[in-house]
Symmetry: C2
Subunit: 225 residues, 2 copies
DNA sequence: ATCATTTATTTGGTATCCCAAATAAATGAT
DNA sequence: ATCATTTATTTGGGATACCAAATAAATGAT
C-alpha cells in the first residue's frame, strides 16, 4: 500500500469527466486549471503524467481527452462520491448541502468492495441526495429506462428497479411492505380522490400513496437489461 | 483545505501512543522506525517536525515523548479508527479481522463532527470489534468503572452507560425494549433456572437473558462520572 | 577500558504535487 | 496582416515524505 494513492489523479479525472459532461467540446489546459483551481503549469505536468498512464490522450490540437480507461476510472470515483453522499445524508442525517466536502475525502478510500457493501447497506440507491444518478459497480452510468410507478401503464408488468428516495423512513416502509429491487409490480388503478395507487406487488395487492409511487422506479418487464 | 492533511503525522502519533501503552518506558527512534517500518533517517526527520509542532518532546537522553497535545491527538485518531471499525463490522458486515486496513484509511478523514455522528449512528459503542475501548469525543479514554449487568448488586441503582456488543440485532433489540444510555436500571433478581435477569429499566420491569445482561454496561448511580 | 554492536544522525537523493515568472505559441479583433 | 490578448509551455523552486549509505555516538559485553 503505497503511502500515496494518487489522490490527485482521481481529482483530475473527475474534473475532466465533469467538463466532458458539461458539453465542453474542447477540454483545454486552461479550463481544467480553472476547474481545479491550480496553476496551468501544474496541470500541464499532471496531464502529461496521466497521458503516460494512458488515462487521457493529448490530441494534436492540444486538447485533452479522457481515454475509455480514464473515463471509467472517473465514473468509479463518482460512484464512490455519490454513495458516500447518500450515506452521510440518509444515515448520519447531514443536510444534502453539507456533504460534498466530506464525500470529496471519502471517495478516495481505496478498497475492492467497500463501496459495493455500502451500496447494499444503503439499499441500492439510484440517485445521490442531489438527484444525480449513481454509476453501477462497473462504472457504467446506464441511462436506465426506469420510470416512476406514477408513469406506469395500468395492467402492464414491471420490475422494481430502484428507488429515488433513500431515507431511513422510506426504506423502512419498503421493507415493511416487502418491496425490493427485482420484484414484479403492476398498477391496477388510481384512486381519483387522493391519487393513491392500487398495485400488485409480487403476489399481493396493496395501496400506495402517490408519493411512494413516485419514488419507486420500475422497468417494463422484458426490457433489454 | 491543504491537499495533504498530515496523513503521516497522525500515523506517527498513533504509533507513539501504542508504544507508550505497550509499556515501553523509553520511546526510541529505533523502536518507532521498526513499528512504522520506515527508515530511521525518515523517522528522525519527522520526529523533529513533530517536536516543532509541539506534539512530542525530545528528551536529553534522546527519547521521544508525546506531549499532552500529541497524546490527545493520538487518542482522537484511535477514536476514529475504532468507530470506523465498528461501522465496517456492524453495518457492512465485514469480519472483525478484515477491517484494520480500511480503518487505517478512514481514520484520516477530517471533519469536525463526522465521527461524532457516526458514534451516534452506531449507538455509542464502548468497544471496537476487537474489544478495545473507544475514546470519547474529547479524546479521553476514561477507564470507566462500568460493569455488565451480570455483575450488578440486586436492589442497587445503576445508569446504563453503553454496550459491549453493537450488532444490528442487539441494537434493534435494545431499541425495541427502549434501553439506551442514561436510563436507570436495577436488578431485581436472577432466575436460577436459566440465569435470566429480572430488571427494572426506567419505570418498566422486564426479563433479559444472561447474554443481554452481559452486554449492557452500567455505572452505579451517583458514581463520579 | 576496549572493541563490537547497536542506535542516532548526517548527507545526498527520489517521487508526488504544487507554484511563480518568463517565454513561446496560438487566437481574435480590427 | 498586425497587435493584443489569451493559452500553452518551460524553467527554476518549494513542501512533504520517503530512502540508502556513510558517519558519529552511545551501549554492552568481556
Amino acid at each position: 500500500m503505497a503511502h500515496f494513492a494518487y489522490y490527485s489523479e482521481e481529482n483530475y479525472l473527475k474534473a475532466l469527466y465533469k467538463l466532458e459532461q458539461k458539453g465542453t467540446r474542447k477540454l483545454t489546459n486552461a479550463a481544467l486549471s480553472k476547474m481545479l483551481d491550480l496553476n496551468p503549469a501544474t496541470v500541464l505536468e499532471m496531464v502529461r503524467k496521466l497521458e503516460a498512464r494512458e488515462l487521457v490522450s493529448l490530441l494534436p490540437d492540444r486538447s485533452i481527452q479522457l481515454t475509455n480507461t480514464g473515463r471509467q476510472k472517473a465514473l468509479v470515483i463518482i460512484r464512490k462520491h455519490r454513495l458516500w453522499e447518500v450515506f452521510l445524508v440518509d444515515k448520519l442525517h447531514y443536510n444534502w448541502n453539507e456533504v460534498h466536502e466530506l464525500a470529496e475525502q471519502l471517495e478516495h478510500i481505496e478498497s475492492a468492495d467497500l463501496v459495493d457493501r455500502l451500496e447494499t447497506f444503503l439499499g441500492f440507491p439510484a440517485f445521490d441526495p442531489h438527484g444525480d444518478p449513481i454509476p453501477d459497480k462497473e462504472g457504467h452510468l446506464k441511462v436506465l429506462q426506469s420510470i416512476p410507478v406514477t408513469d406506469c401503464t395500468p395492467g402492464k408488468n414491471y420490475l422494481v428497479q430502484h428507488f429515488a428516495e433513500t431515507s431511513d423512513a422510506f426504506l423502512d416502509y419498503l421493507q415493511q411492505v416487502q418491496v425490493k429491487p427485482g420484484i414484479r409490480l403492476q398498477v391496477n388503478g388510481i384512486n381519483a380522490f387522493d391519487r393513491s395507487f392500487n398495485v400488485s406487488v409480487g403476489k399481493r395487492n396493496m395501496v400506495i400513496s402517490e408519493k411512494v409511487a413516485a419514488n419507486i422506479l420500475v422497468l417494463p418487464e422484458g426490457a433489454n437489461q
